[in-house]
Symmetry: C2
Subunit: 280 residues, 2 copies
């Protein structure tokens, strides 16, 4: 960005201010900012849960304006009224999550909200916490086909050739939804045989496939093992083609992970497989 004299301007600063982790404020703010084709300087200020911290935030924000920058933007999820009132006085555009929604929601529900610091990313009950840890342990213990012993306990078994993103997706499913996700790498032997690998046959209904563009796979594998047969385009093409043929023939649902985020792949799996989440 340049100003009217053609001089580059500093990026506008966006603050995500929260009395807890800042995760809700960031999520809110990011979703909104991606709607605009501008770059922002982003600063998260978590644990702003008392007036003294709020005053420090206001100082930090106001300092930018006196330095001649564009008015900063604050996305706030602060619940405490006294803290919020202080923040509102900063020299900034103030977007307040609770102002916008809490009062209409109080009206709809016919009750007052607690106005206490949010439990949104708090531990919640111990049951939720255990579900999550159990699911993560399951994902780690059943990563990359290490063991298939407890596949009967899996909610889903993600299959795909090496380096299609099975591990991060499995872990994300565990972390976000408490879902027990195992993952199994299709080996060259599996691919040459062609059908569902014998070891997976009892769990057919749990299988979900990941695939990827061969060129992208080549580049990912090339970083790990440059100039190997494993990372050659020819090998990547062969593996991807055979894996996809198997998914199609065996009617196993699959997604192409090229240019798709881990969140999107995970959500697609939950949705398409009708999985029941254990965490809300």
């Amino acid at each position: 960005m340049v100003d009217e004299h053609g001089i580059p301007r500093a990026k506008r600063t966006v603050f995500f201010v929260s009395d807890r982790t800042g995760i809700t404020a960031e999520t809110l703010g990011h979703s909104l900012l991606t709607q605009f084709d501008v770059a922002f300087e982003q600063v998260t200020l978590p644990f702003v849960d008392n007036p003294s911290r709020a005053r420090k935030v206001v100082e930090q924000v106001n300092r930018l304006t006196t330095q001649g920058q564009d008015r900063p933007i604050i996305f706030s999820t602060v619940v405490q009224d006294d803290v919020r009132e202080l923040l509102r006085d900063a020299n900034a555009a103030f977007f307040d999550f609770f102002d916008a929604f809490i009062s209409p929601l109080e009206q709809e529900l016919g009750m007052r909200s607690s106005h206490t610091v949010g439990q949104a990313h708090g531990q919640g009950d111990t049951k939720d916490y255990s579900a999550r840890i159990d699911a993560m342990n399951f994902a780690l213990n059943h990563d990359d086909g290490i063991t298939t012993r407890q596949y009967s306990k899996a909610d889903v078994i993600i299959v795909g050739v090496s380096r299609t993103g099975k591990t991060p997706v499995s872990i994300y499913l565990a972390m976000q939804y408490g879902i027990f996700a195992a993952n199994y790498p299709l080996t060259e032997e599996d691919l040459l045989k062609g059908g569902v690998p014998d070891i997976l046959k009892p769990y057919r209904s749990k299988l979900f496939g990941l695939t990827i563009r061969p060129e992208r796979l080549q580049s990912i594998r090339g970083e790990r093992r440059p100039n190997s047969r494993y990372a050659s385009l020819q090998q990547c093409q062969m593996e991807v083609m055979r894996a996809e043929a198997m998914f199609n023939r065996e009617k196993i649902g699959f997604v192409n992970s090229t240019n798709v985020s881990i969140e999107e792949i995970a959500t697609t799996i939950v949705h398409q497989c009708g999985l029941k989440r254990r965490i809300y």
Copy 2:
């Protein structure tokens, strides 16, 4: 909840509707709902990105009202105008994320938003994606002290006795922030010696501790190895006491993970250690 005749009422249903993953709608909605002391039935409807899907959502929502339930609540992050207009006609309280913020934000920035389906949880640029995958691989390869070879590359090394939550916190740091987090379990031998374990000494400035209430540790360990010395209260007390003494003596920052969520621990570490995130 009971109605005026003392008959239990069905829980009110909350829909999180999105043209993408639904993650923003859920995050937004959860934060708000935790402010009210009521239980809700929660339904996420992702990928509502065309009028035909929107009509199906409206049917699903309206069905509940004809069944005599309280008016459902919709939290929407749908960006497309035509889809949003259809949803607004559902027989529900409609809380719209974009209505509330996009137009004031357009005014503040002096530009129109794209009104296209959000990239909030899209892959973003490949650089972000790689940073995340690299960080996750680092966390998995440096979990539980498996190897200390690349500790020089770590942004933080989480230390604590067995079962304090080091693994999920390391993985969360990688997934959410692209931070390279290793973790190292303090063994009984380390604890008896007392100081910073020799292998960690070159990385002192990167250490951050996790601790836990001994009673909680006993219960977690008991699930894994019931009636073992490892899971005895006495052993848990000894380990926790010695670990905390070491953190204090060596001035290593630490948090107590009892009743604290993974998100909160991770955010605290980023904040206290002043770590630089690689993903926004």
